[in-house]
Symmetry: C2
Subunit: 408 residues, 2 copies
């Protein structure tokens, strides 16, 4: 059984928003053993939507649509589906009841436009939207399925989790997608590929290895489809782990912030950060994890030298002599933030994110990271790149990675 | 002239990464007057790639491909394009020269796999990749164009900006995409649509209005294609501004962090943040803007009550009496962080991001925001939602919006 995801909205085609829905859906579907063969985005244009549906029905059994179902005039998915399936809109009192419940929770009033959401295509299955006003529409035709959902992430996620995935599981028997993930650092993608070339050549039929480089790390994915490969997967994973040795950071698909959180939790440790060029991004990444308050106390974001001096107690002469982007400064930042925020570990970062601020001696992308644990500091210099966004992301990765390795 | 973006990689179809390349490309293309009609993602599968190319050539004149061009075995785009265009790989010494330059800058050694990047399809135009090893390949056939680029964002962005967009501009004369953006807050999408229903009905032919709701705000986009609509756009924009009144936050497409940065810069003011539930996300958003150090001094991320007390000097009895998520606490946080970090303005946030930590009195999504300017605090209570990710994003939006409005 093959699935295509179709996201609808002009805002996607002019790059006003990033399509995060597709990735979320694809990940959930893969985790449940479903295979996504394509993801397509088209605009709020009836002809292009109908064409995309024709194409998708040619390569997939199930089409999952998001977007274009709001109450406003630019949203045309529902009417397009009506025409596509040769049906008409009828009023569904139960949809209005659901909307009434959602609106009363939020103290909102129902107006004519909101009420229009209760008109649904005749003959499709209407699934209540627990988080918004546009109902989820489930069409079946010639053993193929099309589901239309809202594009608002929280509404789509609620519908997928509570309704659509369970219904797809009832409809189809799926071959599980077997996957083992390996997070590797301190090696480039091509050097890693050379190191693993014999391993890849000797991989048994049905198993594949994929490389996903990301800001100073490479994620390896060993995968296969079907339970019959289970034993072979385990054997090959063991072999791979042996070859990777110290390069291996983790055998999971977890994000760095999850790995760090798990390590801290397991050892009953707390952490704080002192950030200059990363500007709070590491603290943000750490606090995206539910329950982070168990091990994260807080941070001092010292963007200016004055804050480094006054709040982080970095001596003025150290700042003057070595500059803000230097080993002595990050060492002071790391030790002092741990002491000020009373944490067992800490992370400190100071660097030049760019585009300005670089010099011949310290070009854009020069980043000092210091991690602190057990009374010891470990400082290291990185060269992250040329782009501001990349420098912030890569510095955050290197910093979290460094503490994860220190806690091992 | 119509463009389709095709992103290639199994990692997209299992949701291991979010496709941010497409949105970036779409935004740049729109800004240069090009029209993107579809975005498609397919896996590292020759048959599916070839099929996607056939489909795309049926609805677009230019295909921009990213991904699948790394040195590793799972990357098959180059070989697939060879077969698709009935050509063969030939060695290109100039590509190897470019790789040598890039590698010597990064102190990396060239191995066999890297060297294999210098084999390129015969007959296509090879464009140097200034940021990596895989060359950019430009194919022309029957007045249609296909360009293959690396999926690594920095390599794709460099190629698009320096080479591909200028070359497309030489090839095609484009009708400019006219756009006016309006950021609106303090009203729901459907209430706004009701308010604007007469305006929309009276819109002249060729002009369209689109709604993009995002975490407590709505972005309106008034748009048309072709310079002949310019005068009408201005007139309709004036009319819309009149109707929106105080709901209008900004007449630009700028992000909130840009709006805030511009406002601070214009008034020569500095800012700091004191964050609890947003965990540094506001500081991060502020510091994504180049040159933020001109107006952003730093932050205290006070995730624990102890840090709120010790570092932000929120009196223990205030914390005890009102709880961390309360008006008196955020008022103290805002005033104190501004004083400690010597800034003119500040933002303070304390709330319950969830999933745990809620109570009947203060459920998940309860967020207090206080902004500080000119010696005055302004505190407001928000109810952001049920999901942690949404609560953090929405709280950050509301907080920055509140300061942007205060600075007006």
């Amino acid at each position: 059984m093959k699935i295509e995801i179709i996201t609808i909205g002009d805002e996607l085609l002019i790059g006003q928003i990033v399509d995060t829905n597709s990735a979320w859906m694809a990940r959930e579907l893969a985790a449940h053993g479903f295979e996504v063969v394509a993801i397509t985005s088209v605009g709020d244009n009836a002809q292009m939507i109908e064409r995309a549906l024709d194409i998708a029905f040619g390569r997939a059994d199930v089409l999952l649509l998001t977007g274009g179902v709001g109450p406003t005039k630019d949203d045309i998915t529902k009417n397009t589906l009506c025409r596509y399936f040769h049906t008409r809109l009828v009023f569904d009192e139960s949809v209005l009841d659901t909307i009434r419940t959602v609106f009363s929770q939020k103290n909102l009033e129902i107006n004519e436009l909101t009420r229009s959401q209760a008109f649904v295509p005749e003959g499709c299955t209407v699934i209540p939207n627990k988080a918004g006003t546009a109902p989820i529409l489930w069409f079946e035709r010639n053993n193929q399925i099309l589901v239309s959902m809202p594009g608002v992430p929280v509404e789509m996620k609620t519908a997928m989790t509570d309704e659509i995935i369970p219904r797809l599981q009832q409809h189809f028997h799926t071959e599980p997608y077997l996957k083992r993930s390996f997070l590797v650092s301190d090696i480039s993608e091509s050097a890693l590929a050379v190191k693993l070339s014999d391993f890849e050549k000797e991989l048994p039929e049905g198993l594949s290895l994929a490389y996903l480089p990301s800001f100073g790390m490479v994620r390896l994915r060993l995968w296969a489809r079907g339970t019959k490969h289970e034993e072979e997967m385990d054997a090959q994973a063991e072999k791979l782990i042996g070859i990777l040795g110290d390069l291996l950071v983790s055998e999971s698909d977890a994000s760095l912030e999850e790995l760090l959180g798990n390590a801290l939790r397991q050892k009953h440790l707390t952490v704080s950060t002192a950030e200059s060029c990363t500007g709070g991004y590491i603290a943000h990444r750490i606090t995206t994890i539910p329950g982070a308050s168990d091990y994260f106390n807080g941070s001092i974001i010292a963007y200016s030298n004055e804050v480094k001096r006054a709040l982080l107690h970095v001596p003025a002469d150290v700042l003057e002599k070595h500059g803000a982007v230097s080993r002595p400064v990050v060492e002071q930042m790391a030790a002092n933030v741990a002491s000020l925020l009373k944490t067992d570990c800490s992370i400190a970062v100071s660097g030049i994110a760019g585009p300005s601020g670089g010099s011949d001696e310290k070009p854009v992308g020069t980043v000092w990271v210091c991690t602190f644990y057990h009374g010891k500091t470990h400082a290291r210099l990185y060269h992250t790149g040329m782009l501001r966004e990349e420098n912030i992301s890569r510095a955050a990765n290197m910093a979290m990675l460094q503490l994860v390795r220190m806690l091992k």
